[in-house]
């Protein structure tokens, strides 16, 4: 599959997936030992099949497709959380996922201690975190709660803190889904502004979403996944149209409010 990287210089490529496939072993509920010994062969499931994809610096990619088409698997492979069964994933620059922002917080530790732990998990150094600490606290708007254990935080506070750490980790590539709007109205505006400036700075955005408005508003390119293969790629409007044709039922048009 040619995507025309020959006319692109190597340094302009942020992410390159070459013949990537991912196989999972299907876990059945409580397989008995006897069953396992008789049925030695494991049931396999190919979540992605021979994916070739290149994302250049400054591109914003929308990943669309029905549930179970391999969107999450693709994002996991790009982030490096998982490894492909075959093929290679090459990335350049720091990748930060904005999905499951509140994951990885330790309940017993304070907000402050969690900033350090979470920040280092995202690849920040101790010194970097020290200099950015005040910025992270201010952006999250946690205030006095910063010295309290995380289990005293509300869901919204945890999300705000998670977003603030990720946003301040200076990523080159961000990965998100449709649940970006976090926290109250003020924070939605604040995070929206951050997103706009991130997009404006010519960095890479990858969005997996069913929200077609979001995809066509933000993305410069889109890909359509079905059963683990890319079946369409190109401008968002073209790919969204293809996606709508894919379905047996006409997709209801979202009412504009």
């Amino acid at each position: 599959m040619t995507t025309g990287y020959n006319n692109m210089k190597h340094k302009d490529i942020a992410i390159r997936l070459t013949n990537v496939s991912k196989k999972y072993i299907v876990h059945h509920e409580k397989p008995t030992l006897v069953e396992k010994l008789i049925n030695r062969k494991n049931e396999e499931f190919w979540a992605l099949k021979d994916i070739n994809l290149e994302i250049g610096v400054g591109e914003r990619i929308g990943v669309i497709g029905p549930n179970g088409s391999g969107k999450t698997t693709l994002l996991k492979l790009i982030t490096g959380i998982s490894t492909p069964t075959s093929g290679t994933v090459k990335t350049s620059g720091k990748i930060v996922s904005l999905i499951d922002l509140e994951a990885g917080f330790h309940q017993e530790l304070t907000g402050l201690q969690n900033i350090f732990l979470n920040g280092m998990i995202l690849g920040m150094s101790q010194n970097e975190l020290k200099t950015k600490l005040q910025g992270i606290i201010n952006f999250a708007g946690i205030g006095k709660f910063i010295d309290m254990p995380i289990f005293t935080y509300s869901e919204g506070m945890k999300l705000r803190l998670g977003f603030s750490i990720a946003a301040n980790s200076n990523p080159d590539i961000i990965i998100l889904d449709e649940n970006l709007a976090v926290g109250d109205r003020d924070f939605v505006i604040k995070s929206g502004k951050w997103m706009d400036s991130f997009i404006g700075s010519g960095k890479v955005v990858i969005i997996a979403s069913h929200n077609m408005d979001l995809i066509s508003r933000i993305c410069s390119k889109a890909i359509l996944l079905e059963n683990g293969s890319i079946i369409a790629r190109g401008t968002p409007s073209k790919v969204i149209m293809k996606y709508n044709c894919l379905s047996d039922y006409p997709r209801p048009i979202r009412p504009r409010l």
């Binding site: 999972y24 072993i25 996991k76 982030t79 490096g80 959380i81 998982s82 490894t83 720091k94 990748i95 930060v96 996922s97 499951d100 994951a103 990885g104 330790h106 017993e108 530790l109 201690q113 350090f116 732990l117 280092m120 998990i121 995202l122 690849g123 150094s125 101790q126 254990p149």
Partner: protein
Amino acid sequence: MFNQPRHFWDLLIGMTEKELKARYKRTFFGFLWVIVNPILQMIVIGFVFRFFIKEPIQNYYLYLLVGLLVWNFFSLSLSKATSSIVNERSLIKKAKFPREVIPLSIILSNLFHLMIAFCLLIIPILITGTFSIINSPKLFVAIIMLITFTTGLSLLTSALNVRFRDINFFVQAFLIIWFYITPIVYTINVIPRSVIWIWRLNPLTSVVQLFQNSLAGAAPPGPAMVSINIFLIIVLTIVGVQVFEKESKYFDDWL
């Protein structure tokens, strides 16, 4: 992004601090439990086993305490590290980072406790006069052997436990047996020659003996025992590191 060893070290220290802070949150005695626990064990075992031991062991309570501190470091590290990857699945699923910091931070936090306990051990050792500076190389070798073995085995069990959760139960069960096939409450002299091979296959034999020798004035391990034990530690550590490297790429698939 984790190419620099500096980053790896930062993360490891951060995770270790988390381990230490989270463990004694909202406890009254806090760090004191590090030393209270083995002392209680020492008193109980020391009292009971005196009735069974024919040949009295010199400085028996100190001998016991040294062995118990080493054993507690090993067994706490191993049992907690084995399930650590599964317990920290939310971190694994959040970002790409060197997965080995999870089990290593548990070992490092336990090592910190062991060092505190050894510092407190200075008092009884000064009273009995069983330590001299000539023993320090032996002590150093013992510490290196202990850390290497604990690390290698923990990497192996923590990686395998992701795919085969039975490993955790196996480790818990085996640790109980392991305590009795390690010369902690008795000396190696009471073991008949016909079954000494079991102790030779147990790398902790000479580790514990070296500690007891350099701190409590017990007899040193024989050269055959030390060399077989060191060989086993090296082999197991290489296997542990290799298995962890290979398995860690696919942790997410099984969590």
